[in-house]
Symmetry: C2
Subunit: 339 residues, 2 copies
């Protein structure tokens, strides 16, 4: 492979001058620069990042740690957001997956260190609390879609589940719904807790009694091995004497089952029962008929902002632990009617 030495010889300059040209350093005449650029083109020179990393202690590479244990459609857009940011800022992405195994996580940190990555983005499938091993090392780290345990001084960027669920709840209340069912996402997830909390608070603020609500557990258990009660819960809920006029689903995936339960019972959506989801996973929210009103998890933005933030942490060499939340915008479609 072509090195700086060949380019320098071809252009009749020193190695250092070639380096100045490719790094856009000042103090290079136009004539010299053109000669060098021509030699680079002619010889097909491509810089060796490894040599740069050794000499300059900059790898310009971010590591991403993910915890995917199964098909996980939800947070792919986080990675896409990170990659789009990285692409426009000259950073490379080294990617590794723990598969949910702590031992593998330790290996990954070590692998990242061997690559001298500049920083780490720790990404989770679901919005939850985690205990990353970053505390053992001083690699700049930003948590995405997850929250470090309180003893850790790590920045995190998370979706605003509370605001999203609050807005959905208000949306239903403003359209006259008073008897509202809520089928709850897996309780081990922070997102599930925040959404339910928002639901409860919002209806309370509105003056509704808890007895006007119908709250059921939709799923529970370890991620990737959940027990699923959604269809049964929705069926039971919709067969109540005073059945709810609207159901809030813990997420869009669960809404599939709620739709099917309603239709199977001969109920029309939204005429007989309105349904809202959460996350705007388009494969589902647009596939359901009528199309699902939901709050969109801002995964792409989480990724993009996380990468941006990490870059800031790296250049400032000062970790300011704080949490940023990105709002979950309400996406109005056709699954809700006004009473």
């Amino acid at each position: 492979m072509v090195s700086i030495v060949s380019v320098a010889k071809a252009a009749g300059v020193s190695n250092k001058t070639v380096s100045r040209v490719i790094n856009g350093e000042p103090h290079v005449t136009e004539d010299t620069r053109e000669r060098v650029e021509k030699a680079i083109r002619d010889l097909g020179y491509i810089p060796n990042m490894a040599a740069r990393q050794i000499r300059s202690s900059r790898s310009n590479t971010f590591g991403i740690i993910t915890d995917y244990v199964s098909t996980t459609p939800y947070s792919v857009d986080i990675v896409r957001g990170i990659q789009d940011w990285a692409n426009t800022h000259g950073k490379s992405i080294l990617m590794a997956n723990t598969g949910g195994l702590p031992e593998r996580e330790a290996e990954i940190w070590k692998m990242f260190q061997s690559h001298r990555i500049d920083g780490v983005l720790y990404v989770t499938m679901y919005h939850r609390v985690v205990d990353p091993e970053a505390g053992d090392v001083s690699i700049p780290t930003v948590m995405i879609n997850c929250r470090p345990q309180t003893s850790e001084l790590l920045p995190s960027v998370e979706p605003d589940d509370f605001q999203g669920a609050r807005d959905l709840t208000r949306y239903l209340l403003e359209r006259g719904h008073r008897r509202i069912g809520y089928i709850r996402l897996n309780p081990i997830l922070l997102g599930a807790e925040l959404r339910l909390d928002a639901f409860r608070r919002t209806v309370k603020e509105f003056g509704l009694a808890e007895s006007d609500l119908s709250i059921r557990l939709g799923m529970e258990g370890p991620v990737g091995a959940e027990e699923n009660y959604v269809f049964a819960a929705a069926t039971e809920m919709l067969q109540q004497k005073d059945r709810p006029t609207a159901i809030m689903s813990g997420n869009d995936e669960m809404a599939i089952q709620i739709y099917i339960a309603a239709l199977t019972l001969g109920l029309r959506i939204p005429q007989d029962v309105s349904i809202v989801g959460f996350d705007d996973f388009r494969t589902v929210s647009l596939a359901l008929k009528p199309e699902l009103t939901t709050a969109a998890l801002p995964y792409y933005d989480l990724g993009f902002q996380g990468a941006e933030w990490l870059n800031g942490v790296i250049s400032e060499e000062k970790v300011r632990a704080s949490r940023r939340v990105v709002s979950c915008k309400l996406v109005e479609r056709t699954s809700v009617r006004a009473l």
Copy 2:
């Protein structure tokens, strides 16, 4: 950061001996090895991959190029399969996304070269034909879930859509179904073509007339911007005088709409109409009630086998262009009844 020099001094050996220990080379006494390993532990030494790459011309890193233009749940497992293989074979994964843009693809190849990656896995969201720019360079490359245009000498590993759809068709025929509807996936996708072709051939071999079939287009247009006719097509098909007793859906996502169409028309699944999908995207196939019978796209295996194959290509330095297909196993659930 700690280097080999510090370890060597602490262990009282040469740099090269430390190198021998960390690389598991022979001709190191047990006593020496232990001294070195202790020094490594005490000092927290982690090898610098960049220095290794420069000196030994081995990066032990694979590049993955993806073409994700939107939320794409389907092929995440490809990446997971690749990563699991890489993890157990000491390879790192550098990941970049074209977002479907050819210009970005050229930049990515260049970035990979600057990292001196050992080889490239070219991964597509959907099973289709592509024209990667690998032809311009001699980096070992394996196509995953996609097929190079015939002029390229590149190995590919693809799902056997034909076999999967053939098995599903037989499954329905064996259960007595003779009037079968087929709602077709986006025609620009190779997978769509293969599945429909299998359907047609299998029913023909079975002796059914084309007039016993009902084939509709479900979606069409550029990936990420498809027009979607599934719900309308299913509704129309199910309102036919001789409506089909079973419907084959181009994929699981489309099956959501077919389910809803059937239920909205007051038809029971599978009593009145049986439904099968394709791809076993579990978020959907398990969420549908009754659970969907389908053929599973072997994404994890595609990834795993692709990485394995690339490793072989790299070490043999000889590209044998050929196509491997991985079967799509029929997953029997409860959406089909026997007549």
